[in-house]
């Protein structure tokens, strides 16, 4: 609880400072014998959207899942290199994965609301981390998170109805609200719009741009237009290697690497 407040405090302080939220160096990931990522070094900055692009199977989702140690769930997965969150090694023995995931939220490819009411979906995170002191505070957190996720107006009259009854786009915004409710520093999004129609996608993209004010956001996407629209920095992955990283504008207008050029112009991938 105390640690939580300290970290959120730090997040606001650091808004102006150039220290990145995540500093990753020489990250390699192995699934059993197979190497999925080789020597990825990338910084994730606060108040920015970093997009990871590349063809399927290039390792961008694997990299994303290293950042909140979701790869731990997969049998036979091994990570080497250093991943520092505010200077702390998240793979160090002293790092509690529960605290890590409270600081680094995640939104998945397919909306996955729990089979509970809309309120309970958002209240889930604050409850397990004991963030709210009492019921009023919990309600305030839920309202606030739904507000930030741009969903409050649509659901405020039916908070007790199942979250699974919402439309796909609303479900995904509910999942974003659920992630925000834990007050993380970083939000990871794994192709958050791939299961949504264009209108819902536009809504989520708008939302991502608004959320940038409070969080560092990393988004994996297959859509280069989406990366160009929402992100300030872009990393291009190919065959488990981070080929090129830089300002989004530079990557899309003036890529330095031939492979990036080929990919963004649609020659492969």
């Amino acid at each position: 609880m105390i640690a939580m407040q300290a970290t959120t405090g730090r997040a606001t302080d650091a808004a102006a400072s150039p220290v990145p939220a995540f500093m990753t160096r020489d990250v390699c990931v192995f699934y059993g014998q197979k190497q999925a990522l080789t020597n990825v070094s990338l910084d994730i900055h606060r108040n920015q959207v970093t997009s990871l692009i590349g063809p399927s199977g290039c390792g961008k989702s694997t990299y994303l899942r290293c950042l909140n140690r979701m790869n731990d769930i997969i049998d036979g997965c091994r990570v080497t290199g250093s991943i520092l969150l505010d200077g702390q090694d998240i793979y160090a023995g002293s790092m509690d994965v529960v605290h890590l995931r409270a600081r680094v939220g995640m939104v998945f490819q397919k909306p996955n609301p729990f089979p509970k009411s809309i309120f309970e979906n958002v209240a889930y995170g604050p409850r397990i981390h004991g963030i709210a002191k009492d019921k009023t505070e919990l309600e305030a957190i839920v309202h606030n998170s739904l507000e930030k996720a741009g969903l409050l107006a649509e659901v405020k009259d039916r908070m007790d109805q199942p979250g699974t009854g919402l439309s796909g786009g609303q479900q995904q915004r509910l999942c974003i609200a659920r992630a925000i409710a834990v007050q993380p520093e970083v939000i990871l999004m794994d192709e958050p719009c791939s299961a949504l129609d264009p209108i819902a996608t536009a809504r989520i993209e708008e939302l991502i741009d608004e959320l940038r004010e409070h969080f560092a956001i990393v988004i994996v996407t297959h859509s280069m237009q989406q990366a160009a629209r929402v992100s300030q920095r872009t990393g291009f992955f190919h065959l488990g290697i981070l080929v090129e990283t830089g300002d989004t504008e530079q990557i899309f207008t003036n890529p330095r690497d031939k492979r990036t050029q080929d990919y963004i112009t649609g020659r492969f991938g």
């Binding site: 529960v98 409270a102 995640m106 996955n112 089979p115 889930y124 992630a179 834990v182």
Partner: protein, 460 residues
Amino acid sequence: MSLSTLLLALLVLSSLAFYLGRKKALSAAGGNLRTLHSLPNYYGYYLALWAGIPALAVFTLWLVLEPQIVQSLVVGGLPEAQRNLSPGRLGLLINDIRNLASGNIVSREVAPGLQEAAEHYVRLRDTSRIALVVAVLALAVAGLTFGRQRISAHLRARNQVETVVKVFLIVGSTVAVLTTAGIVFSLVFEAGRFFVAVSPAEFLFGTEWSPQIALRKDQVGAQGAFGAVPLFAGTLLISVIAMCVAMPVGLMSAIYMAEYAPPRLRTVIKPILEILAGIPTVVYGFFAALTVAPFFRDTGAAVGLTISSESALAAGIVMGIMIIPFVSSLSDDVINAVPRAMREGSYGLGATQSETIRKVIIPAALPGIVGGFLLAISRAIGETMIVVMAAGLTANMTINPFHAVTTITVQIVTLLIGDQEFDSPKTLAAFALGLVLFLITLVLNIGALRIVKKYREQYE
């Protein structure tokens, strides 16, 4: 021609019809299959059905009706005196005639009249058989010819064959439903006869169970008592004890298998647990009676408790062990069916494994888990062998698990074993108990469906 040969001939005719129908369709198509309404095989099936079904229907009907007709003809040929015998004695006589005809042992001296009747019987039966063969074969050939004439390129053979298939399926499910209805009806009917002798109120609310009927007026204990409450209480007590064992153990092992155990361990543990369900209940019964019950009695004696050597506790615990697999296997399956995305969503918010299980997976899997519980409960209520051997026969009205109790199923067994008259309330009580058992299970199932509906959540 024996009946099986006739059936075989019918089969051959139908196969021939299939071949002929196909051929006729092909020639009707004139080499261009696209002009046919259906695929050639459907014309084959169509003709095979025409050849087979009417003939088979007549065959079945004939076999059902033949004995009655032949019998009434034989009785008609008997002398006046014998025809006017009471139905029971007439039945015996007919039985003898039939035995004589088939060369079996006869219960009385063979009089010339009897001999003659038997010969009459044999003659009638032989005629009937020949007529049957002729009728069935003629009908098959007629059906074949008629169907063949109807085959043309425009005949909608596929639709008609599909309709016949649908009718077969409907008949199949009707048989299952009617059988159930028949069992329920017979239960209700026999229970009704019981309730004529003993009032339903006494049966349902009476607290004394002593099912006996006096053979003579001055017999000791001539008064029977049919108050089933002690049985209900005993059944409930044992089921509750069984569920207290099976629910936690089953659910925990299901959670361990589904969430914690490495896949290789799971492939070993799950079948082993399922073996528990495959052990014959009589084995559980003597395990309960010879090992568990004495153990409880001795342990009880050691700590100063009086536990009878046939106790509800022993029976309930062993029954609980028996139904563990019902709970664990079903729960394991439904827990595994909870989408991976749910787990990831929860882990992604920083929930621990046990929080995820408690707050997300169990609620999502609840309908299936409740289903498993209710299946286990109805299994426990219907279980007989363990209780017969370990819980005793005494209809004690108690909720003390250290005493001997008895259950509905055990009483049904004891009411019906041995030589019984089937019209005394004592025997009929078994049907009333069966009806109660049936109603309890029915209510449990309806309740299960309700709960499942209430908790069912939709996920994509």
